[in-house]
Amino acid sequence: MNKKGTILLLSGDLDKALAAFIIATGFAALGVEMKMWFMIFGHNCLKKRKSFFARRRKPDPAREGLYRDLATDNILQPMVEMLNRGGAEHLPLSQLNLMGLGPMLFAKMLKKKNIQNLEELIHSADDLGVKFYICQICCDALGLSVDDLIVPNVEIKGVSAYMKDTMDAHVNLVF
């Protein structure tokens, strides 16, 4: 039987996302079938960075409407979207963030040591066949659109799919 594993990323911090993706790519390279789940702020690393003032498209019932309940959206969803911009290269650190200076120094350190940065790791993971899933209620509550992500083929699923995947897997990591 094939070895399987799942990773649940809850945190929007750079260090945790980096650890999650290094483990996912490493495991996938060794032949383990990996599935990554993103909840709450975990999906921030997959987001395309937009400027604070960028014009944002109105949610389309034919696209976002498929996995979101647009009727219950209010002013808070666009506000969250504006403030919580994410972007793999713009995540904060959980320790020593130093108001944004920490991640810059961290990026320098990684580059000097030839370690891949988060965006490259995400694309490597995608290339190695790691599957990405986002929690449906997080998408709905935070007003997220799948078109705003840097990787295609992200699926929106619920807890039942997560249960099936974790019960099926040999290892389940939560970051």
């Binding site: 490493g26 060794l30 032949g31 030839n114």
Partner: protein, 74 residues
């Protein structure tokens, strides 16, 4: 023994050697030989684990200073 493919991951660190190996192996046929060169401190262990995990046979390992070459059959 001459290898069919050569992968050079000198200067790259974990997990990049594994990623490059996985991508290269995907394009190869069974029975072909692959030679990989790297200088990561945990390079030997990574590649040995990779081969054991996927059931590939190790043929040759030799070290020149920091650089290490490993040959295995896919």
């Amino acid at each position: 023994m001459a290898a069919d493919r050569l992968v050079d991951v000198t200067g790259k660190v974990c997990p990049l050697p594994l990623i490059s190996l996985a991508k290269e192996v995907r394009t190869m046929q069974k029975g072909q030989m692959l030679s990989i060169v790297g200088d990561d401190p945990i390079f030997e262990e990574s590649v040995t684990d990779f081969c054991r995990e996927r059931g590939y046979e190790l043929f040759d390992t030799h070290r020149e200073g920091k650089k290490m070459t490993i040959v295995f059959q896919v």
